[in-house]
Structures are given as C-alpha cells and as structure tokens.
Assembly symmetry: C2
Homo-oligomer: 364 residues x 2
C-alpha cells in the first residue's frame, strides 16, 4: 500500500480510537456529577415553583427570558469594544458564543467575514510565529556564545524546550491576570487561558463579562485583546516549530514519487548512467536520502557544512535536526561527483532509491 | 527591510485593519437590535416580577437555576454519546460549550486531552484532505480524457473550483439535513454548518440538543458525528490546496537566504566560476528562480517536461501552477551544463540571483 495511504489510514484509526477513549473518560468523570447537579437543580426549582405557584406557561416564559437576557447582564455586547471582541473570536475561531449575531444580516456578514478573515489570520500567526522562532534562535545562539559554550549551535530540542516554556509562561501570566481581574481561582483562569489559546473557546469562562468591563475598563479590555493575540502568536510559533512540517507529509511524498517517476522516464529516454564512486556515510548533519533527493542534491556531493543551520530545511532552518528527521545516516556522499548534466544527479540516484526503500524518511 | 519581516508586518497591519472594519460593521448591524431586545426582555421580566412579586434574592436564585439547568434540558450530556460529541468538539476545536466539564478533574483531563488531540487531528485532516485532493485530481484527469479534451492536465484553477464547489455542497447538504432534523430554517441550519465546519462553534445553534436526541436517535447521532468529521475533511482539503503553502512562506525564504549565504561562502572558498551559455527563457511551467534554486536545480538545465505535474511542487504536485507562482519566466536554463560538482549548480547561480532581485517569488 502506498505510504501516504497507509499513513492517512493510520491517522484516521488513531483519531477514532482517541475519541473513543476520550468519550469513555469524560463519561466516567462527568456523568455522575451531572446527575447530582440535575437532581439538586430540580429540587431547588421545585421549591421555588411551589413557593410562587408558577403556571407551566409562565415558568417556560421565565426560563426563556432568563436565557435570552443572559448576554445582556454582561453589558452591551455590540458596541465597538464588544464588536471588536466578537470579531477577534470569529477570525481566530475561538468562538466563545458569549455574543452571537442576533440578526440575519449579522449572521451573513459573520460568514463572509470569517471566510476571508480565518485564512488571513492563520497565515499571519504562522508568519509572526516563524519570526518569533528566528529571534529566539538568534538569542539562544548569542546566549550560548556569551556563556562560552563549546558549540553555539541551536538544536531542535533547545527550540522545542524554549517554545514549551514560553507557552507555559504565557498561560501562567494570563491565569494570574484573569484570576485577579475576573475573580476566578488561578486554576479556572488557567483553564480559561488554555481553552482560549487553543481556540476551543467553550464560553463557560469568558473575560470582560463582569461589571460592564467592555465599556468601563478600557485598559483591561486592551490587555485582554493583546493577551489573546500575543498568546495565539506564541502558540502559533510553537506549532510552526513542531507541527507544521507534519501537515505537508503526504504532499511531499507525492512530489517525491512524481519526481522519481519523471527521473526514471528521463533516464530511460536520455541519460546514460555512469558508475559512481563509493565513499563512507557522512555525518549526522546529512539529511535523509529522500530529503536530499528533493531539496539539496548538490549537498550530497559536497563536504558537510560547518554550520548545519545554513542548510535550512523544508519548513524551518533547523528542520533537519527535528526528531522526525534524525534517521539513518545515509551514504549520500556516494553520489559524489556526477560529472555531466545536473539532471543526472536526480535520475542517476533513482535506481539507488529503488534499491534502498528502507532509506525513505521514517514518518508518521 | 528583510522580505520576511516586511511580509509579517504587512500581515499584522492587515489583521488589525480587518478587525477594526469588522467591529464597525458588527456594531452597525447588531447594536440597535441588541438595545431593542434588551428593552423588550426587561419589559416582560418586569411584568412577570410584578405578577409573582419575586424578592430580589429569589429572582437572582431563579436566574441562576435556569442558567445552570439549561444544558440538562437538552438531555444527558455526559453519557457515552454526549461525551463522544464533546470529545469531537475538543479535538476539532469547535468547542460549542453546550456542555463543558463541571468537575475540576474533567477540566484537567480536557486540557491534556486537547494538547495531544488537537495536533493529531490537524495532521489527520490535512493528510486525509491531501488524499482527497489526489483522488479528485485523478478523477478530473479521467473525466477530461473521456470528454476527449485537448489537454488532460488538471490545473490549479480546476482544483480550486472543485474544492470550492465541494465545500458549498457539503454546507448545503448539512443545512438540508439539520433544518429537517432540528426544525431550523434552511438559513439557520446553513449558518450552523458554517460555524461548525470553520471550527468557530459559537454554540448559539447546536445539533442533538432537542428531544434527548443523544440517547434516543442513534442514527441521527451517527450522522451528525460523521457530518462534522467528513465536513472538516472537505474544508481541510480545500485549505490544504489553497492556504497551506502560505503557512511556510517565511520559513522557505529563511531557508533560501541561508542557502544563498552558504553557497556564496562555498563559492568564495572553493569554486571557480565558469562562463555559462545563455539560452532563451523557458516556458511558463518553469517555476520561479528561487523555487528552482532550492528544489530542482537540475531541472533548470534540462528541457521543460511534457507533464508539468510530474515536477510536483513544494506542498502540492500542481503547486507551481498556483497563482502565487505564476511569475516571471526566468532564464533558468542559462544555468545549463555546469560540468563539475553538483555544488557548483547552487553556488554559481547565486551571483545571478543577486543580479536579479526582482525575480524573487512574488508572495504576500
């Protein structure tokens, strides 16, 4: 079975299993508490109904009123500040739902607003996140230099650690701030920040909904907006570092397959293969055979560079150091001097690629 | 200013402007209606309070009860079916909030569940989406062949059109189904599908919340789950086709810059440049100079292939046809025969790259 199909099938199976496990655990954790809360609420409601002797219709009307009035209790949701807050929740896909368009025109505009805004925002966060990673990488290098360390090379592990600590730091700062301003416990504020910055946005905890903060506390409003946007950038930077490469795995494999087919066709039509010199496997900095095949064939014939990050990789200048790429050192340098046209570099390596299927990138 | 920094700054400016415009429009569309609704609700609440003569405390208690009882009205939310539904909303980041963990243990598990589940789900949807695009591409090719068209080549525009129609079709099918099962208007059901499949998930409209559907209508529950997962795949396929390439723009430019610096260093240290033959610019199928520099230097010296998609591009086998890559035809074939080591292909082209800065990829 083709690699891409196998990978996709495995991922689907993973997700379904993950959902099943999650459902079972949430059931175990929440189901009993839900029953308890329901019993208590029914008991209290019964007491109030007996005290005031509501008619069934009036009680239903009261329920409807309370539910509809709920957003209004938090103050004006659709003045400029509230609308800006709402617009943020749309284009970042957080979507708390604390406010949602009540008019049909608002719903239509919301949909068009999201169609353009969401991709634009995705690209912006990834772009800014990548810049952030570059700055962090340079800083780490300078720090290592100042500390007089043996090597100033910034590894993937260094970057992942700093990224992870940044995410935790961002969550903790937010938790401290919102627990102070909103009167939540630190844990609930942390949970709110987590649910917000992962863009899940349940809406069970929503900032700026107490004491008409949207209209009366502009500095707090500005802080909340900046926190969400900066926090999403930090998360975006971490995702750019760790996850983005996996999003293009299938496409890369398709491209490599297509290039192999093309080069085989060219080899059959045009190229006469010449014997190549064999030389020992190069150092760990040399990327996988198939990465080399696609991205840096000329490297394979040249000495390993002293600064690996200058051979920046697929999606990230230190990509080749990532865990998914620390695989077999490959006798890439066996390609050595190819002599004739550059085209032969690709085509002449293809039979070797066929002979060594186990040298293809180990991926998910 | 460096290209990546300029691009990032432009994107940030774009987003802030977009938010300001959105806020102004939502304010204009919703603010007045909000005032109207608030007045009406206060009036009706006043009538009920006068009729039953609630004390202030009792009324607040009643409000609290109604709000807390609201999820329970929709049936058991945390039995297995409800928990599975909730788990879907977590890992897809839809996050309706119709149900949210009530216990602290549930909140903690929810966070860990999301940390692993969200990236896994992202990768799965992109992987499956890419497979879907590949199948569609093959089908389109077969259809063109059957129709006896002059060329069976599937362009990016074809793919984008089919992708867009698939998204619209998915939304319409969902709208028809949910308007039937939930008793919503077609427009509201369409709005619900849109808000769900963009993972915004306000929670103003949530399926499976009427008539205890989660427990009593297993086929409808299964349909809803499958609709969400398949719908997200279709959206994911469209994003994979259109947006994914833009997520790695900065990283690619960084890598190219690093490779240029590395090749210049090598050129200064090792390589003697030889004069190159000039030949006319090749056809539109040849990608940008800088893409070629990084991915397929050997192509530059070889004749343009008859089937461009075999030279599959960065993230997608027909990438090079994308709008962002239809740029200047470049005299890439001027690199021609390089003779010596493959390394010279890269280094010898760098001075030309310097001479033609306007030939760099036009990107956002």
């Amino acid at each position: 079975m083709k690699r891409q199909n196998l990978r996709t099938a495995a991922l689907i199976l993973c997700i379904f299993s993950y959902l099943l496990v999650g459902a079972a655990v949430f059931d175990a954790l929440e189901s009993e508490a839900e029953s308890g809360r329901k019993r208590l609420l029914e008991q209290k409601r019964g007491e109030l109904r007996r005290k005031y002797r509501f008619s069934a219709d009036d009680y239903r009307e009261l329920e409807r009123l309370v539910l509809q009035a709920e957003p209004h209790r938090a103050g004006r949701q659709w003045k400029f500040a509230g609308s800006f807050y709402f617009a943020i929740t749309v284009i970042t896909t957080i979507g708390y739902g604390h406010a949602a368009p009540g008019t049909d025109a608002g719903k239509v505009f919301c949909m068009f607003y999201a169609i353009l805004g969401i991709p634009l925002t995705l690209v912006m966060f990834q772009s800014l996140g990548e810049r952030m990673n570059t700055v962090v990488r340079l800083l780490l290098k300078k720090i290592k230099k100042c500390l007089g360390m043996r090597t100033t090379h910034v590894s993937m592990e260094n970057m992942v650690l700093v990224g992870f600590l940044s995410c935790m730091g961002t969550l903790c700062i937010g938790a401290a701030a919102f627990s102070y301003f909103e009167g939540w416990t630190f844990f609930h504020a942390y949970y709110y920040c987590f649910i917000t910055l992962t863009t899940i946005g349940f809406g069970d905890f929503v900032a700026l909904q107490k004491n008409e903060a949207l209209q009366k506390k502009p500095p707090y409003v500005a802080f909340s907006f900046m926190y969400i946007l900066v926090g999403l950038t930090v998360i975006g930077a971490f995702l750019n570092l760790v996850v983005l490469r996996f999003l293009t795995m299938n496409s890369e494999d398709e491209r490599r397959d297509a290039e192999e087919r093309a080069s085989l066709r060219r080899a059959r039509n045009n190229i006469h293969l010449k014997p190549k010199e064999e030389s020992p496997a190069s150092a760990a900095a040399v990327p996988s055979f198939c990465t080399c095949l696609c991205y840096r064939p000329q490297v394979c014939g040249s000495p390993a560079p002293s600064h690996p990050e200058t051979l920046s990789c697929h999606t990230n200048p230190v990509y080749y150091n990532s865990i998914s790429y620390k695989i077999d050192e490959v006798s890439l340098s066996t390609r050595g001097q190819t002599g004739s046209s550059p085209g032969s570099t690709l085509s002449s390596s293809s039979p070797r690629c066929r002979q060594h299927p186990r040298l293809r990138r180990k991926s998910i």
